[in-house]
Amino acid sequence: MGLQSKQTAKLSMDDEKIVELYWERDEKAIEETDFKYNKYLFSIAYNVVHDRLDCEECLNDTYLGAWNAMPPSKPNVLKAFLTTITRRIAIKRYHSNLKQSVIPSEMTVSLSELEDFVAGDGDIDSGFDAERLGRVISDFVRSLSERRQFIFMSRYYVADPIDTIASDLSLSRSMVNKEIAVIRSALKEILKSEGYSI
């Protein structure tokens, strides 16, 4: 059959080539994306939803989202592009699941750290402007040092565990916790000054 050799060791494809495959409407794009980023995207989803089956569905939806988005999109950084899609899908699933029970995920833990000013499981208020909040958070993140930017994104955007962040930055766990406390305090002030109810 000649197919068995295909199952042996395989190298990841360059992102540019994967994006090209999407643009050529070649389903191999999905396969290559999955081969290269499955584990990474799974971890992003798992941090949020903490359920293997949900994660697999999030990943499938991510691939579908990527397939539908490219074209027209041509991301500069494919991994970031996929991260964003996975996070959106996982967060949607998270809040949906949250209606039924508490989700024992890292996202729940990271949100609990912010309970001074982020609390309540209800739906979004009608007057809420997500884009404005997005701009406020973006400006805040830019005002941080490189290291704190990384910690903020790790902890609150992709909900990485403290240990993972400490390992990435070669810091102690307590040092990461201290940094997070500083970030949290500054964030609270910014949100307060921007008129968000605390």
């Binding site: 909040l133 958070i137 609150y156």
Partner: protein, 482 residues
Amino acid sequence: MKKKEWNEGLNHIDPDLVEKYVEQKDRLRQKNKKPKSVWLRFGAIAACFLLIVSAVIVVPMLREDDSGVIPGPGTTDDNNRPNIPIVNVQVPSSAPQYYGSEATGDGGTAAEINTEGVSVIARLIAVLPDTYTFYDDWRQEEFHLLKMETVKLLKGKNVTDTFYYIVPERFMTDFTIFDKFVIVDMGQYGYEHSVLYNKTQSCAERLDIVLLGYLNTYFYFMGENFMAFDSDGSFDGRLWGANKYWASSTGWPNNIMGQPNKYLNGYTIAQAEQDFYSDDGYRSVNVLNSVSGEAKEALEYIQSFENGLYIQRGDGFKTSHYPSVQLNFRRYMEGFATNESGMIYAGSVSWSKARFSKEDEEKLPNLPSANESVKTALNNGLVTPPHFNNQEKLRNTTSGVFGWYAKTENGVVGIVRVTWCFCTEKYQFHYDDAYYIIEYGSDECKAIDRDALLELLGDYEATYIYTGEYNEYGKDFIRVYY
């Protein structure tokens, strides 16, 4: 601030920050493992090169997209937009109606097919000679239809005895050399008697039996859910080796089927039957069987519509993880959606104001022809976005045509919506749309403003019609990735 709001705000942070984070993370991981590879540098250079190439190639294309409205022949509306004369298309009015023997046994047959994957052992009856596309698929991918006979049901209930299976052009091979197929996780495309565009014949064509494909709303064919077996019941690898597309699809089983290798070494149809047999995943059946009172009456009413005129939407049944007792139904007529719908929730039923009568059914406008005529006009540049007037260099990325029947105070009209999508380099999407209506007996598809259309519909459901504000970007500014 609520958790949902916080997360939604985070969803809107600047994409540059996400890119920076991902790059930081990769850099740190590399640093913690080994020295930076030269390939990363090469990648950066390649990315720069791609950017330059994009600037050289794409920017002139963007300019080309700024072309204005090309005046068309015939009458115009008050805003000088051309109305579109109808060119009649061939739509068989007496297509043979075929149903599986179990189809009438339980309400919501199409619903079950639509909402959970169906797995079967099947035999090929025929390969239809023509190629087809969906009307509302902007990619306009060509596909063929395999007419299949259900030999044995492995997962799902009430599957029709015969069905069409979608195979994209590039996956076409000689399917007649195989004895049987195991097809896993199929879903229904559209609804019973879908109207497709027959590209070979250049006309609309209504299908006579249910149309199935890989379980997904979108065109997402992956060959690995389709396995061939020879007359001895052994796995026949010639299908997966038929061409590079089939071959590349076999990597996917890692994700959905476990171990791909076993399918290549002495795998049999008997094993496949065991692997893919499932008696669960059909919670909708239980829901349907357990209802009573007005909910039961509603289901019986829906069931009485032969040929799937009512179908259940996927909402609430998307996955087996999310049980829902809410059943949403929409009525389809002559292959097109309508603004008639029903919803069953917790034993109670609510119907839309729009309810099509027998008289309405006999006086349906020629929507298939209108749909096709608008599509042709769009392809010829006679239809352009009415609101989008932004001077930024945005790419017109997609445009699609979608038609449906709507009941109004003055009878039934056919509505055809044209949708455009524009995209910035930052993946910011902007949309615009235009609407056309056709009345019973009319040979012209009239351009109509959205507001006038909403006024025409009055209290009747404005299904599929955008009701927000328009601006220079077309519809409301939308900043999403997909």
